[in-house]
Symmetry: C2
Amino acid sequence: MSKKITSGPDFAAGGGLLPAIAQDADSGEVLMLAYMNSEAYEETMRTGRAVYWSRSRKRLWRKGEQSGHVQQVEGVFLDCDADTILLRVRQAGVACHEGYKSCFFRRVDKNGVQIVAERLVDPAQVYPSDGQT
Amino acid sequence: MSKKITSGPDFAAGGGLLPAIAQDADSGEVLMLAYMNSEAYEETMRTGRAVYWSRSRKRLWRKGEQSGHVQQVEGVFLDCDADTILLRVRQAGVACHEGYKSCFFRRVDKNGVQIVAERLVDPAQVYPSDGQT
């Protein structure tokens, strides 16, 4: 009922891509979810900086490459099936390309969706044109 | 560069399924990641109990249906693209079918994988045969 996990993420289980959660190492806030392929994971492990795979651009996405809002990785965890990765990170600036610390700045309930966080950065001041962070 | 989000998750963006992170509402610990389709999401919103879509069983998975380890939902958040869901939950028992509070009980570094949490529950005492929690 459980897999024996000795080496690392099971990228094959996700067709080559696994979800990776970034959590603030100090506050515990969940900052974002992105995806990693094996190359992104290996570079993350080697450099200590979070690197993802951009599904929209189909290329490695070194988080902060445009904004400077890099993520220093303090710890890497795998779930029981080794098909989700959890990073505990120190976030420079903000995680979200919309200028919020966390991408999860919208709360939804039966009455609808509302923004529940403060925008800390003006995206227009950070990104040249396309919002990749 | 950003979507206007007024109503809820963009299930179409995920081909009908979106990742849903469950986070402990008190401690901030990330407990697990599972998937929701619109039916699971709607039942979650309606009942206040976390319901996922089991990709392996291809059916709704009412978390805790076998173990009693239900998740009472305290808050639901969407990320900037509305393609990831974050639940803040009160977890009865443990989240992980292997008996750990969180599914992320393995830490990985350059030296390999090690278990960094305490097993709180003997899975054999909780699940009849198949580990669905």
